[in-house]
């Protein structure tokens, strides 16, 4: 007990400590019980993540811990809850897949938990060292997850590709960190912001650029998106579902904290960079997805596009903008997890299928799934009154208030182009002839799809409270 009092603010990191200890306990159970424990581990890890989420929600204390390296505020709390939901759902989605594809490994939920820990630390990081260590903890676990089905050549390729490009991006991030440290003499974000307000040199701008490049890799924003389609396609589908949700939320949260916490005095500089990668991501996401035939690749381009839309809010550099980004990430995660629950239930008697054309005539074979998937596609395209429309509405509103008219016009145009490929899927579902029926959906997939569908369709009902929460979280920085 003496130790607890000697480390200032350890209670603020209670959820993180809990997850770290829980992951190690699960590892021990797994090692002693062996491969047969895969199913129990999936259940246990989801339960433990729920407990960690509870700890997070019911600990109202805010403040800094570990000499300012770890920050707990309303923003961090909201983003961490999102990350935990994303990871928990991703583990739940993988239960049936692991059983049917026969690669049940008990390490997978443990790695997801450790990645979640890394993501939570990224969200809370208020120091360049903490930022890098959290990022690396998350990334290392993700590389292994991508290649976890080592019998599959494509999964191994995806893991290797992800690892090499991820290592490259880490290198760039570290180079940026070293430049920023060299020119400001601080690793803590407050110190950097203070030094930056006093004096801004060219070297510092270089540092900011490199750090933003490193983070852009993690949220797969153009021009650092190259790994995304290959990794999404190659990795096992539940792992892809995990990649598409929680890590994106965590990296976006980290980006928000870095630009608003540390680089606030250089807002004019980083807003240009964010505007550029936002336009590039929206454009590429809209046009490159048109030619795709594999639904996982399509979702990869879709996620690139959505990251571009979310960055529109960040480019505004205002409180409304940040709150728009937060709302966008909440809605994006809900839609993505629902869509991946659909993709995971594209299973025939002879195995999984991944082609878009396999969805043909879904309305006749699986009417409920077809209905929800249609709603999700309309929502991803941004058609009112579904959730996806409101996500885009708030970020564009913030951009227009910040007088970023060109960015907003390009964004709306990209959104119209992007609607084409979502509507193509809807057309396949409702107007084409079915070839062969899918096997019945597993219960956990039904649950995820149902919750995601209800959230997307009836978003207007929860819109008020959610906006209030996002605004509270965004006010942390202003």
């Amino acid at each position: 007990m003496q130790l607890l009092t000697e480390i200032p603010g350890l209670n603020l990191a209670a959820p993180e400590v809990f997850i770290a200890v829980a992951a190690m306990v699960l590892l021990m159970i797994g090692v002693f019980v062996g491969e047969g424990s895969s199913r129990i581990m999936h259940g246990l890890s989801v339960a433990l993540l729920v407990i960690a989420g509870g700890l997070l929600v019911f600990s109202p204390e805010n403040g800094a811990a570990f000499h300012g390296a770890f920050l707990m505020d309303p923003f961090a709390r909201l983003m961490k809850v999102l990350v935990i939901i994303g990871s928990g759902v991703a583990i739940a989605l993988s239960v049936g897949y692991a059983r049917l594809e026969d690669y049940g490994r008990f390490e997978y939920p443990i790695l997801v938990m450790l990645a979640t820990l890394g993501m939570m630390l990224m969200v809370s990081a208020n120091d360049l060292i903490a930022l890098y260590l959290g990022l690396e903890l998350q990334a290392l676990a993700l590389y292994v997850c991508a290649a976890i089905n080592r019998e599959s050549l494509r999964a191994t390729e995806a893991g290797l590709k992800y690892f090499v490009l991820g290592a490259l991006s880490s290198g760039m991030l570290l180079y940026g960190c070293s430049l920023v440290y060299g020119f400001t003499g601080h690793t803590g974000f407050e110190g950097i912001a203070a030094a930056m307000a006093a004096e801004r040199s060219l070297g510092l701008i270089f540092g900011i650029v490199f750090i933003l490049v490193g983070i852009a890799f993690k949220i797969s924003a153009v021009p650092f998106h190259m790994w995304t389609p290959d990794v999404y396609e190659g990795a096992p589908t539940p792992v892809t579902a995990f990649f598409a949700a929680a890590p994106k939320v965590a990296a976006m949260a980290m980006l928000i904290r870095v630009v608003h916490g540390a680089f606030e005095p250089a807002a004019a500089d980083w807003r240009q960079i964010i505007t550029f990668i936002s336009i590039a991501s929206m454009g590429l996401g809209a046009f490159a997805a048109i030619g795709q035939t594999n639904i996982k690749r399509l979702m990869a381009y879709s996620s690139i596009g959505h990251m571009g839309f979310a960055l529109v809010g960040l480019a505004a550099g205002t409180e409304e903008g940040v709150s728009g980004v937060i709302l966008y990430m909440i809605i994006y995660m809900a839609m993505t997890l629902g869509t991946f629950a659909c993709i995971l239930s594209m299973r025939r008697e002879d195995g999984m299928v991944e082609e878009i054309t396999d969805l043909a005539g879904l309305s006749r074979t699986k009417p409920m799934m077809a209905l929800v998937l249609t709603a999700l596609m309309f929502s991803l395209a941004g058609i009112p009154p579904l959730a996806g429309f409101w996500a885009k509405y708030f970020v564009f509103l913030a951009a227009i208030q910040a007088e970023l008219y060109v960015l907003s016009v390009i964004g709306v145009l990209a959104s119209v182009v992007g609607a084409f490929y979502y509507l193509r899927i809807v057309k396949l579902i409702w107007f084409d002839e079915p070839e062969q029926d899918f096997v019945p959906m597993a219960s956990e997939l039904r649950l995820v799809l149902g919750v995601s569908g209800i959230f997307t369709i009836f978003y207007v009902i929860v819109a008020g409270p959610l906006s209030a929460i996002a605004t509270t979280a965004a006010r942390t920085f202003f």
Binding site: L114, L133, A141, V144, I148
Partner: protein, 203 residues
């Protein structure tokens, strides 16, 4: 010229000489052994400057782990090093240029920090004066109190790396033959057939 200077020149000259022998000796095992000698003398140099922690870490980590690993690799890999070494001298010009550039950079950095004095201003000095506490205590004080968070995080990253290596490479093959001592002991001597095998010929 005290004892310290004497030891400095002793350690420094042996370090340089053994570093040269690392690349000059024909036998790769000798190269690694010279590398170990260079590490030991570098540790001696650290000790002279009062950095006893670094000196001991150098011996424990580099000699104890890294150099021994090198030794294993050199002995186990079937690489003909004398063949690799042919035409060694043709790289001398480019190696010389790289060495020259490095030397110039070092001089520039050192020169600017001495002349300018600005680097000393930017650097934050979180540790107390080395005259007051030993540097093991100073590092320990920082690492396990102020930087405990980073220290633990680094530990978790290593844990993930270990899990990853095991997940991706360990395979339980069904037909691996393992030693079963009970079976060996319970064996009936009547069934054992003895062959006299000549060395190098096999059965």
């Amino acid at each position: 010229m005290g004892v310290t200077s004497l030891f400095f020149y002793l350690f420094a000259s042996i370090t340089v000489a053994s570093a040269f022998m690392v690349i000059a000796s024909r036998n790769p095992v000798h190269s690694v052994l010279f590398l170990i000698l260079a590490f030991f003398n570098a540790a001696g140099l650290f000790m002279l400057t009062g950095a006893e922690f670094l000196a001991l870490i150098l011996i424990v980590v580099y000699v104890g782990a890294v150099a021994v690993l090198f030794l294993f690799v050199v002995m186990m890999l079937d690489v003909d090093f004398s063949e690799l070494r042919e035409g060694f001298l043709q790289y001398l010009p480019i190696g010389g240029i790289i060495g020259l550039i490095l030397a110039v950079e070092l001089i520039l950095v050192l020169g600017s920090s001495f002349v300018d004095g600005k680097a000393a201003l930017v650097a934050v000095q979180p540790i107390p004066d080395l005259g007051e506490v030993s540097n093991i205590k100073a590092i320990g004080d920082l690492l396990y109190t102020r930087y405990i968070f980073f220290f633990q995080l680094a530990g978790l990253i290593l844990l993930v790396a270990m899990i990853g290596a095991i997940v991706l490479t360990l395979s339980h093959r069904p037909n691996v033959k393992r030693q079963n001592i009970t079976d060996q002991v319970m064996r009936d001597p009547e069934d054992v057939e003895l062959h006299s095998v000549k060395p190098g010929e096999g059965i």
